[in-house]
């Protein structure tokens, strides 16, 4: 019995930092130069889907604007910076050929229905709970590696939010 309790305590002790770490990982902010990325997430893809969107908040603490110009992930054939727009009930998605400007001292939110990073040519669809490694490329701040937690299929908010 005592041995069992001890094992249990050990397991709990081992598991606690693990869950804390996973949680931490999802909520963590990533910084390169003046650019900080927070609240980054993606979502699980329905089977047969070959594309996905990634979302985040990008803050620029610098005194000059920067641009998100590209991205890559080992999980997708290619990645692009896109804008989604509703135009008289018609959904239009376009690549931002010049990237997405992050104003000096300001921030830009990538969210469903607006800007997103688009993953294309995904062979092994993202599953809920997975962490997707993504490298963002900024014109001035350079490359920034982030881990995007995958929320449920079709969800509209960061998986860390419970409301």
């Amino acid at each position: 019995m005592r041995k069992f309790a001890l094992t249990l305590a050990t397991l709990v002790a081992l598991a606690l930092p693990l869950t804390a770490q996973a949680d931490d990982h999802a909520k963590k902010t990533h910084t390169a130069g003046d650019i900080t990325v927070s609240d980054h997430w993606t979502r699980a893809m329905p089977p047969a889907a070959a594309v996905g969107g990634g979302f985040m908040v990008i803050t620029n603490a610098g005194s000059e604007p920067d641009r998100l110009v590209g991205l890559s992930t080992p999980r997708a054939g290619s990645g692009e910076v896109h804008e989604m727009k509703m135009d008289g009930g018609v959904m239009k998605m376009r690549e931002l050929a010049d990237g997405l400007e992050i104003p000096a001292g300001g921030s830009v939110t990538l969210e469903p229905g607006g800007y997103h990073v688009m993953f294309m040519g995904v062979e092994d669809g993202f599953k809920e709970g997975e962490m997707i490694p993504v490298t963002l490329v900024f014109e001035k701040a350079g490359a920034l590696e982030i881990m995007m937690p995958a929320g449920p299929v079709g969800s509209k908010m960061h998986p860390g939010h419970t409301h």
């Binding site: 998605m93 040519g121 449920p152 079709g154």
Partner: protein, 203 residues
């Protein structure tokens, strides 16, 4: 003064006569007010179509008569709006519970080149199992989108692939297949739920 009074009286008689004619004659009424149902005043939305469902079975508009129907258009190479709409509709159907059995709910592809019946079947599998996926030949799909006044257009992407601009509105049809309203993309849940309950109650 007398001329003005006479003119006024003639006008009154004319207006009264026209009103009676409109009320009595179905032809004049339909021309002025639009025929109920077929709507000669407003562009009719919906009509005949033949497609293939996600199990590979040929279907037509006749298969959807008898129950009110919900149609929305999209494609599987869609990172944002389409999975969101499918998720939202699944949530609405869950909220309606067994009442949702009284509806036909269809997700119609605007990208038949890539969206085969098998792809549609896989794609809709995480969502409410009552949702039917519809695809077909490019002609069948283009006929159906035209009938529903749905805009769709292929747009090339940098990497060599393409995306589809398309109408994201959800279409509501009554049990006879007549257009009964829309739910806009992103419309709030309570309003959308009210519209669906209304549609079920009316049929």
């Amino acid at each position: 003064m007398r001329t003005i009074r006479w003119t006024a009286w003639i006008l009154v008689v004319l207006v009264a006569g026209l009103t009676v004619a409109v009320l009595v004659s179905p032809n004049i009424r339909d021309n002025l007010l639009g025929k109920p149902g077929t709507g000669s005043g407003v562009a009719a939305i919906g009509g005949a179509f033949t497609m293939v469902d996600h199990t590979g079975k040929p279907v037509s508009d006749r298969d959807f008569v008898g129950k009110p129907s919900v149609y929305f258009f999209g494609f599987t190479h869609c990172p944002d709006v389409c999975p969101t709409s499918l998720y939202d509709i699944s949530t609405l159907m869950e909220d309606l519970g067994p009442e949702a059995d009284k509806l036909n709910v269809s997700f119609v592809t605007v990208d038949p080149e890539r969206d085969t019946a098998q792809v549609m079947s896989d794609y809709i599998s995480p969502f409410d199992s009552r949702i039917v996926g519809l695809t077909g030949t490019p002609e069948q799909v283009s006929d159906m989108t035209k009938a529903f006044r749905v805009f769709s257009r292929k747009v090339n992407l940098e990497d060599g692939g393409y995306t589809m601009d398309h109408t994201a509105t959800i279409y509501l049809m009554d049990a006879e297949g007549t257009f009964a309203g829309t739910i806009a993309y992103g419309e709030d849940t309570e309003t959308a739920l009210g519209k669906l309950r209304n549609l079920i109650a009316r049929s």
